[in-house]
Amino acid sequence: MWLDPEDRILVQGITGREARGMVEDSLAYGSRIVSGVTPGKGGQEVQGVPVFNTVRDAVEQTGATVSVISVPAPAVLDAGLEALAHGIKLMLIMSERIPRMDTCRLLIAARAAGCTVVGPNTLGLIRPGVAKLGTIGGRVDNVTQSFSPGRVAVLSRSGGMTTEIASFLTSRGIGQSIAIGVGGDALIGSHFTELIVSLEDDPSTDAVVIYGEPGGVAEEQLADRLKARPSRLRINAFLSGHFVDDMEGVRFGHAAVIVEKGRGSVRGKTEALRAAGVFVADRFDDILEGL
C-alpha cells in the first residue's frame, strides 16, 4: 500500500547536499532509488544513480512512480507539478519553508491526479525492513537500531519524535509496520485522519501510535472521525507542549480563531481524543499501553 519493495523511486533535487547523503543512506537501507532530477545537470551521477534534466526523461527511462522532493522552497510547486504531470503516485516533500499558497495549489493538483502526498517539511517515512523515503533515521546503522519490523504504525508531527517513538517501541520488543513523519507545516498532504483510514485496510497493521503538538486541528479532526466511526485499530496518542496552553500570547500555529472555533490547545486535543476512545498517554513511557 505504501512504498512496496518493488517501487521505483526518483529524487528531485538529487544533486543537493542534503539529498546526496539521503540517497546514500536510503540505498544502503534497500530503497530502490532509480533516478534523480536536477535541471541542467542531466548526465551526472549521484551514488551511481543517473541524473536527468526532467522528470519526463527520468520516468521514461527508469520507470519511477514515487518521488522524493528535496528542492529549495521556491521551486517546490514547479517540481511537484512536474512530478504529477508524469504520473508520480506517491510524493514525499522534504523541503521546508514553502509558501503556504504554493502548498495549497500543489495539494489541489495532487488530489486531482490521484497522487498521495506526504509532507511538506517531513524527514520521511519508513517501512522497517523494506525501504525508506527521506532522511528518516539518518545513517543506516541508526535506522536498523531504531526501527524494527512489526505491526504498530507510528504517525508523528515531529520528525525527531518519529524515530524516538520507534526506537522506544523497538527497545521494548514492539516492531513497526510503518513510521511516517507527517510534516510540520500547517498544510500537509496526509494527516492523521486519512492515514488512519488507509491503515484500517492494511492487514499488516494492528495498532497506531500518534504524536501530536499544539496548534492546528488534526487531532480534533481524528477525534471527530473516530466518534462517527470507531476504528478497528488500537490507537495510542502522546501529545507534547502542555505548557504552551498556559503561555498567553505565544502562539503555535496561526490559524484564525474564527476558523477553528477556538480549537488547538493540547488540553482540548487530549479531551477530544479521549472522548473518542483514544488512549492518551500522560507520560511518554505510557505509549506502550495495550500494545
Binding site: 509558501p99 495549489r105 489541489i108 537500531q145 519524535m161 527497545s171 500547517a186 496561526h254 484564525a256
Partner: protein, 401 residues
Amino acid sequence: MRLLEHQAKKLLEPFGLPFTHGVVIREAGAVVSAIASLTPSSAWVLKAQVPFGGRGKAGAIRFVTSEDEAVIQARELFALRIRDTAVHAVSIEPRMAFSREFYVGVAWDTAARLPVAILSLAGGVDVEASSEHQVVRRTFDPGHGLSPYEGREMAEMLHLTGKTLTALGTMLHRLAAAFVEVDALTLEINPLIETDNGALLGLDAHLEIEDDALARQQDRLGALGELVASPTGREPTPLELEAQRIDAMDHRGVAGRVVEFDGDLALLIGGGGASLTVFDAVRRHGGRPANYCEVGGNPTEEKVAALTALLLSKPGVVHLAVIMNVVNNTRADVMARGVVDGVRQAGREPAETITVFRIPGSWEPEASAIMAEAGVHALGRDVSLDEAARLAVERSGTHVA
C-alpha cells in the same frame, strides 16, 4: 509579518477594496495640520498604529469632537505602551456615520487545506463572540478565486438583499483575490460599514503576510515604509536576544529559540518535538526549568558551546540537562564537544554541572567517549525521554541539597 493598519489599507486599495483615508502623524503636535488637510468634519477618530488587533479594547482608539481634544488624545496615544509596544504613529480620519457594520475576512482552513472566506453580521469588536447563524464561511481554490456569485450566495445565506447583497459579493471576490495575490495568512476588514448612501467602506484592515513568502512580496512591501515586527507576547529578554544572535552566527542547524523561564535548571533540548516533550516532563517531575530551547539540524560545535555558556550565565543556574530524541541528522559527538566546551567557557566543571546527557543515535559512541573523558556518564536510548527528565530533576535537587 503583520502590517500596520495604514500599511494594510495602502497595500489592499489596488485590489479595489475601499477604505477610509486617514493622515498618519508621528508626533502629537502634527494633529492640527492633519485635521486641516482632511475632509471637513465635526468628529474624528485617532488610532494608534500598532501591529495587532483588539485595539479598541486596549484603549488605542479615541474619538474626539474638537481640535483641542484631538491634541490631548494624540498626546495620550503617543505615551501609551500597548502589549509592551511603543506607539510611533497615529492615524487620524473623519468619523464616519453608518447604518450597519459587517465583518469580512479570509483565513486558512487547515482541515480543508484551502483558504476560507468569512462574512459575519457581527462586525466591530464582538466578531469572535458572534453566534453561528450570523456567520457564513466558504472555502475556495486559490487557482480559481472566489467568484462574485459565490460571495452573493454567502450574503443571501445571511438574508441580505438588494444593493447590500451585490456589493458584498463583489467585496468578497476582491478580498479573496487580494488574499491569494499577497500570500496572506489572515486578511480582515472589520468593521466594514454600510454608509447612509449604501456604499461599503472599510474602517480597519488587518493583514498578516506569511513569513515564508516575504521574499516574493518584497516589491509590494518595499513601498510601505518601515515595517514593524509584531510582538509574540512580551518583548524578548536580553538572554533570548543573545540566543538569537548565537543561532544567527552560522546558518547550519538550529541552536536557539530560547524562551526564558524563572527556574534554575538549564535545558539544552531538541529537536522541536522532543523539546516540548522534555519541557513538559521536567515540569511534571517537579523541576523548575530556567529556559526552553530548540536544538537540531546538526548545529556547529561553536554554536552549541556559545548557547551552553549562555544558558549557564543566567543567575541562579547551577545545573544543565542535555536531552535530545534519537538523532537522525544531528551528530551527537559534535553536540558533546560543544556542550563540554560551553560548560568550561562558563567557568564550570562538566562533571558537577551536567546532570544528564542523553543524545542517542548518529555518532553516539564517539559522544559517549567525549562525555566520559569529561567525567559525565552519557545515557543511551534505553533511558526514555521521560526518565531522562526525571533523572535531571532528581540529580539537580541532590546537588543543591
